[in-house]
Symmetry: C2
Amino acid sequence: MDFADIFKTTVTRLMESNTLPICDWLPWEFLCPKVQERGDLCTFTVLRTVMKTNKALNTFYNPCEWCDIIIESLPKTQEMSEVSTENGIINIRLAQKIQTPLQPIDPAFAMQPIGFISSCFSEKFGTPRQSNKNTGFYSKYSRGEITLLNHVNADSLDGLEEFSHIWLIFVFHKSTHSKLKSKVKPPRLNGQKKGIFATRTPHRYNPIGLSLCKIMKIDGKKIMVSGIDLIDETPILDIKPYHPADCLNEFSMPGYIKNPIYIYDVEFHDYAIERIRIIKEKYPLKFYTAEEDWIEIIREVLSQDPSTVHTKLKHQDQGLYAFKIDFLYVVYVRHCEKSSHLVVNVIHHFEAEIHELRTEAWLSDMKDTLISIGVLKSI
Amino acid sequence: MDFADIFKTTVTRLMESNTLPICDWLPWEFLCPKVQERGDLCTFTVLRTVMKTNKALNTFYNPCEWCDIIIESLPKTQEMSEVSTENGIINIRLAQKIQTPLQPIDPAFAMQPIGFISSCFSEKFGTPRQSNKNTGFYSKYSRGEITLLNHVNADSLDGLEEFSHIWLIFVFHKSTHSKLKSKVKPPRLNGQKKGIFATRTPHRYNPIGLSLCKIMKIDGKKIMVSGIDLIDETPILDIKPYHPADCLNEFSMPGYIKNPIYIYDVEFHDYAIERIRIIKEKYPLKFYTAEEDWIEIIREVLSQDPSTVHTKLKHQDQGLYAFKIDFLYVVYVRHCEKSSHLVVNVIHHFEAEIHELRTEAWLSDMKDTLISIGVLKSI
């Protein structure tokens, strides 16, 4: 016999007969999590639900009164050896242990994007982590453009131009792991695990991200932003202005949060600089026009080592890597010992046979080519 | 004739025949917003979508190549007077103007609560607005308890105890306005309107709230918090630790954000203090045990005038009001001219005929009673 079911049936009947006031917005599923079953004791916390008012009845009930109505209506069976109430909580002691613990069905909330961001970062690899000057790294040159969708009125942005920064609440749309782990390895902890709610990992129960960025310009339904860590096409769920209540004077955190992630020197080989000049003449970038900006954003991304913990542990040695920024594929050598990155080549998206790009074979060919033209020795 | 449909049919057929690589997570609806129709020009931005890789095919396509495949496959009709491509964008000029603008159907993301908060505030009226010491008001004595649901592992909280503060991302579950307005009246602006994205109003396209609170204690799947502005039973979608990247050294905002909301003196009539003592002997509160704490939380709520802009404008004169905190109904006199609140009575939820509580008739009776026992003169 399932006591949760008996309880549910009874309360539903009482609700239908208007004997019990339940707020109309409150579905049955909201009540379920409050049913606790421990051993042979079944506890129904009525207290929190009866405080709601039923708009139709426009009455309040005393929770104790409510408990009495429920208990009186429960079918009397031998399995219920003891029934008591206390401060709006019904305790039912059963003659035998409960076999099947209740699995509450929680309601889901449907969230619709208000817009999408077009970002200079189109892949996870090379997208910086949220940071600002306080943490030693800030991606000043990162660029993005949020466009509100048709159903969102441009008026909703009225007054936002008076703020310098906004919070973006967004969907981690590229985080599609089939099985959620409750712990992850934060980048600054060299393999040690922490609970996901103690981190900002994209692997969350709800794939919701929170990110701060700077407003550069607002134009109709478009917001140009900088300082972003969002991948191209990220669905935006909400925009909120940053204000003084968000900035705490005193707060504490574990020591590892202060460990720098800004550790790499970035150098450009003359060949890479020459390549940037050639590309600039022929092809456009989406977010950058000045040659200096192309170089600055590459420098920013590489100064915060884009390698994952996994990559770092797997490839301890130096090697050839590539990441994508805007329409550019940037090829660089990672010197672990010197803590430096050397940019050796830059390829525009329109320029190459893209379908081979950045596979191991491609990187291997790239290496041979760079060696043959004297850019690389052997690595 | 509907060009979006022709385009859709063509691209779908190409996708099905594996001629076009579309990332498997990317539903058709994601492509739609990029179809722009202006006058007789129909523009399909292919550029942003073809940069994705199809895991099954494991290939990249050059967007220009992709455009060529699509154009070649489009049925040739008289309506298409001109077709061209440029940097991955297909421009189709039609012989006649487009009559029906495309309405993109955006996908919704289903978010499930990870838990619910049990709060000392059970109603909108009397629940403070998010704030902290920087803004002159901080509800230090507010109390809440977040309980993670069954499907959320307690391990997810591992390491969170090392942080002092957390962000709560939650659902404004009591914000159920039928029609969304794109502008609202912020409390500090005396009736002037601002776009919803320039405010933190609960009336949003997605009912998502962002709130900072202090961790008091973590115990298994429960987090005791203070400094909250959430109503009882609020569904929590995510918890993220507060860290230095959230605190900006330099940011700007409109001047009105600095206007104080902390303006009211709070005094307690001896009768109210006596009532608190009597209640304390007989009934429990859920979040408060010490008498001083009962007084402090009442003081905090009333010091930040809980009246809405609407109430303030409607009832310029002084009057008798009540709000609920934990299990207490607090009755106070609002003296507009003196900018002060005087607490005159306190009633425990278990103590009274609750169904009449705080209706106009109840407040009127309360007034008469308080006058008859000498607590109030006439107001």
